[in-house]
Symmetry: C2
Subunit: 205 residues, 2 copies
């Protein structure tokens, strides 16, 4: 499984969102929406083998985690506004420790960013942290089984415009996360997801 | 200079746009907005060396061409809604044969998709057509001058969800456009722009 997790430092944690102001009052929810687009949309198709998490630390109920499962998504369009409407609906529900489904393939829970990463580590996922100063992607030996589709499970950790912060970087280092670089210039998280997918697509063919 | 041109078969050609319905009544204007995002946005910076054209063939005044010049853009945010508001403003003006500025760095003209490509060919741009069955990018010898920034001028031609159509493909073949492939799977135009930028970024470093 290919999974991505974004720490959304300022993104809203209740459904009281102004859809006309995703960047401002909703705390860069536009970026979250574009990450959903990048995670799943192919031309006339969806990436069914992908999961995307966004963990929101904005007002008023931080943290709230969202999970999008490619294989279960329905009626999702690629534009920010329609993705934001699904997120608004998910954030309107009370979240608890366990994942609860809002609409097809979209879940919420009261989970911390680190909790999800630890869960994945315990499930033997290989953890990568996307960072400008990481090792170039090409230097990693990603085990993709071309014959039977039995790929290595991987989680890619992404920061928003603020970044994940020093403490979470230290946490990732201690967990053994591998720092990976996709570009010589600093990019938005949604653009990194496109590049990561492309690198994996090319390895598989 | 790095330039991209998108044929937007259904996108609106007047400012009478419902910002709440970019994919539907505005004719996939959401895709045009995301292409603008992909063309220009870096983390905390803009790509000043890039130009993006979108040629609209939707109702009611087709064609209308839009030009975005990275070096002149001001106050542009990365979210679809705010880009769409700039496009709406540009489409509200009457367009003529010559480019007219609407807001900083955003121009409109009554030009055909092919006219712009021919202009670029006449300016000695190298023309690439991004296509699933093209030659892999890595097999092209792109001349990027690492020492003095005097890069080759390149134009990348992109289709929307409908594609550019057989006649325009024939036109590009006759013009000597080179077919280039970025991915083994079929991708949205905005995702292709990200991949193309990344390939060029890596070549330059």
């Amino acid at each position: 499984m290919k999974e991505f997790i974004l720490k959304a430092n300022k993104s809203a944690t209740s459904g009281d969102i102004n859809i006309k102001d995703l960047p401002g009052s909703a705390g860069r929810l536009d970026l979250v929406c574009r990450c959903v687009n990048s995670s799943f949309f192919l031309s006339h198709d969806l990436r069914r083998d992908t999961v995307f998490y966004s963990v929101h630390y904005g007002e008023p109920n931080a943290p709230v985690a969202l999970k999008f499962i490619g294989d279960e998504l329905k009626r999702l369009s690629p534009d920010e506004r329609s993705i934001a409407l699904f997120i608004k609906k998910a954030l309107e529900k009370d979240s608890s420790k366990l994942w609860k489904e809002s609409t097809s393939g979209i879940y919420t829970a009261k989970k911390e960013f680190r909790d999800i990463i630890v869960e994945k580590k315990n499930e033997n996922y290989r953890i990568f942290y996307l960072h400008l100063n990481g090792k170039p992607l090409e230097e990693y030996n990603l085990k993709l089984d071309k014959d039977n589709g039995n790929d290595e499970d991987v989680l890619f950790v992404l920061g928003d415009h603020i970044g994940i912060g020093e403490e979470d970087e230290k946490f990732l280092d201690e967990l053994g996360a591998e720092r990976i670089s996709l570009s010589p210039v600093e990019l938005h998280a949604d653009h990194c997801i496109i590049l990561m997918h492309n690198a994996l697509d090319k390895l598989k063919k």
